[in-house]
Symmetry: C2
Subunit: 220 residues, 2 copies
């Protein structure tokens, strides 16, 4: 009985890794689509997000079956409940990647990011890709040192988000209202993406160390 349960818990963990890998590809492709005005790539991210949503639903069902067929003890329940929370978070990260792709698609054949902010968004893209890659690895190997680097990149994303506001509000901004709207939303999407990754990282840390992280809910 215990062996079956362990096997199913392992499967749940593998499902989360697979979801995270998919999110990693989504945010990578969405950023490239944004920075290079690549319509086909943007479309593929948008289409692929349905697959990420389906993975969340499957994980829900698997969790319910697992809880129903076994009688897990409290520690295991904590793992299952955390898995449910993390799958919801990963699903949101997929949505945010899709939103970035939708902005890229909406401005095509133009670039959504105005030239003066191209370098800032290139840095946001790099940080988001690192965050996504490390989230996958953290879910895979539970090396909680990775959680710290995810927090560091989230701080970087927050700083870059502040930079976009500084550019918009510094008094020298000459962008169109459309550009102001796009920069505002894109900045928020990247900032939220980092927040969600931190939430996953804290949950994994909590499961591994048993320590209550500063705050397990998604920072906002």
């Amino acid at each position: 009985m215990r062996d079956i349960f362990d096997a199913e818990l392992t499967q749940l963990g593998e499902d989360l890794v697979a979801m995270s890998r998919r999110v990693e590809r989504a945010v990578t492709d969405a950023g490239v689509a944004l920075l290079t005005a690549d319509l086909a790539l943007a479309e593929s991210v948008i289409a692929d997000d349905l697959g990420i949503d389906a993975m969340e639903r499957d994980l829900d069902e698997r969790s319910i079956l697992l809880l129903a067929q076994q009688q897990p003890v409290a520690t295991d329940l904590r793992i299952v409940v955390s898995a449910l929370r993390m799958s919801a978070t990963l699903e949101r990260m997929g949505d945010l990647a899709r939103h970035v792709a939708q902005v890229a698609r909406g401005r095509y054949p133009n670039h959504a990011v105005p030239d003066p902010l191209a370098a800032t968004f290139a840095q946001m893209h790099d940080a988001a890709v690192r965050v996504a890659r490390r989230t996958t690895t953290l879910l895979e190997n539970r090396d909680i040192a990775l959680a710290e680097s995810i927090e560091a990149d989230d701080d970087l994303l927050d700083g870059l988000h502040e930079d976009t506001f500084a550019a918009l509000l510094g008094g020298t901004w000459t962008g169109t209202p459309q550009q102001t709207v796009d920069v505002t939303l894109l900045g928020r999407y990247y900032e939220r993406f980092g927040d969600h990754a931190v939430s996953v990282a804290r949950r994994v840390t909590y499961l591994v160390t048993g320590a209550v992280a500063e705050d397990l809910s998604t920072p906002a």
Copy 2:
């Protein structure tokens, strides 16, 4: 055993209602703070959001205990898992109300909403308050006719959100970049608030009717 479980499930339902009531007050006060530039009210919404976050954590713990102490069957598990999902959604709705309050606080003593959009945001506020109130009632009495009116108000919120973009991008906008940023973010907060309420409404409908709603994940 069954009676204890039923009592605990009932308690879980009551916790969700209490959370929803708190979100209702948050979005009501946040909107009033926004529309009247009321600093004290904005501050109270921001402070109170910590309480909503704590309710989500309590609900997590209660669910884990409930699952550990009883051996629920699949239908009951579905209810518990749904409760976990809904508490996360309500927590996000609280965050969004807090974000509205933060914008109001940031612009004080000025009004964050520029005059030409005051009527649009007053309508968004009214729709969001109705949505929040009906979400509480739906969680209380499971009258799924309410789910339809929540969807209708969400459609209204989407339309009003489009109106804000039309105002910003119609070529006659003379607002400052700060105003453009604020309108962009506020519009998104209200639009997301409606989406989350729809997600709760669909979950309740699913639990009541057993029918698979169009999409149980949060629309985005």
